[in-house]
Amino acid sequence: MSQNKSTWELAEAYIASSLSQGEVGELNARLASDIEFANEFNEAANLIRSMEGNGKQKRFRSMLRDIHEKQTAGKVIKKGLNIVLPAHFWRTAAVAATVAILTSTITIWSLKPRLNKSESQYNNISREVKDIKKVQAQQQATQNQLIQKVNKNIPAPPPSDVKYTGTGFALTNDGYFVTAYHVISDEDSVYIQDHDGDYYKAFLVNFNAEADVAILKVEKKNFRFSKGEIPYVFANSKAGLGSQIYTLGYPKDDMVYNEGYISAKNGFQGNELQYTLALPAGHGQSGSPVIDGKGNLLGLLTAVGSQNEANTYAVSSKALLELLHTIPNANSLHLPRTNKLAHLSRESQIEKMQPYTFSVKVYKK
């Protein structure tokens, strides 16, 4: 008699189909008439089904593991093929990455899109402007040209297409700025597009291809990034492991903020001029400033690791300062000396940074 059985016992027997026809009839009648009982019964039955399903799946998984172990026992396990690039081949790597990018646009239909770059552990993160982006950039350029024609007398960017974009930041307020060398390495002309959307032509002052740093200057006479002084200072020594850092960059036309921390004191393959960062970064963010919470500029972004190691690499400010000292008029440069960010909230820091962080656009005829 099902009245004498507990709900659990009934649910278990029901699932196992071990109830007699009479008992099933009785159960159905009770389920139809007693809502409270029906709810309880359903919950019980669902839980038992889940327990059985989960248990069955667990046994299946452990059997699979066992089969796998037996089948692979004694066999040499092939490791994934990783091509490791020596540190001094960055420039080659940058070129190779460029070639890979160009090739991938052609072979994209035959190769699996997200995976075909896995051989390279090191990806430069300048952004190649693809067709859609090109259209957008052209549209924006046209818009800007129009606005500029109306408002200002600033030279508009050349009509040729934007080839690569990166990010740059000010070194001195009178127009010296920094970006990653690979961004501008095969330039015909370089423009920066500041926060207000204005374009300014720039020329290359000096670079260190191995360290992936370039110093450029805006051509325009009496140029100022902004009225105030540059709010950050350049760190003389390397910051410690675990330092909280953030970055501002232009992976798209709007400025993007990302934060993270220094995850290793040296960079790709122990490179001492670099940091390894745990920081999300995308294409177009090469050259982005890396700043700690107190307004010290620690370096600039150069590359991200492959999919297996989610690292981002930054060139340290030390490498940047070393390069700076090699330019002829280094002594006459007025590097920022006062840190105006130290006591500000993150939001205000970003606001202060904005005029000094901009998109770098590389054109090729």
Partner: protein, 193 residues
């Protein structure tokens, strides 16, 4: 050892029942294809083992429904599910930036379309089982061990009665029902969270 099973539908039924012979056969026919593909695409041998296991569990889950009929071969199904699982995993890990340049996202969407639903159902079920496991961890002894012995390790009530010192299987069974009642309470609080 079972003799090789010939039709794919029989193979599926045997897999659904958790038969080792069928599972081994599927492993031998398909593992090297999937692991070869994965290693070529930047995965490791350990990734391959995990991925294959996950795809097999998806198939195992589908095969529990006796009305399930494959519209392609088991091998094709496992391969497609594996690819879909792998891309999903990559996406989760990276939130995309590395792939911005190359990500057209078109051809694998076409490929994964039929299997996306199966993978989603699988993930939901996994989440459900995870909740169940965490409720089970909170249920306390001897309930946790009794329920695990019965449901996870497929032991009979006789064995459980003997192992846990109950005088007869019926007493053990009464205890099991009490444990289930306790688990139900915990489980629905976990779920409500």
């Amino acid at each position: 050892m079972h003799s090789p099973i010939n039709t794919e539908q029989q193979l599926l039924a045997a897999l659904a029942a958790g038969q080792r012979g069928a599972t081994e056969q599927l492993y031998q026919q398909n593992y090297h294809i999937i692991s070869g593909w994965l290693i070529k695409n930047g995965g490791s041998a350990a990734d391959a083992a995990d991925l294959f296991q996950e795809a097999m569990v998806v198939l195992f889950g589908k095969a529990q429904d006796t009305s399930f009929r494959l519209t392609c071969s088991i091998g094709t199904y496992l391969f497609a599910v594996s690819k879909h699982l792998w891309y999903k995993k990559l996406q989760k890990q990276h939130k995309e930036p590395v792939y911005l340049l190359e990500n057209t996202g078109q051809d694998d969407e076409d490929e994964g379309a039929g299997y996306e639903e199966d993978v989603n159902v699988h993930e939901e079920r996994e989440a459900h089982y995870d909740q169940l496991d965490s409720a089970l961890d909170q249920v306390g002894e001897p309930c946790r061990s009794i329920l695990k012995a019965y449901y996870h390790h497929d032991k009979s009530m006789q064995e459980i009665a003997a192992d846990f010192g109950y005088t007869n299987p019926d007493n053990a069974k009464t205890q099991k029902y009490k444990c289930l009642a306790r688990l139900r309470k915990l489980f629905y609080t976990v779920q409500a969270k």
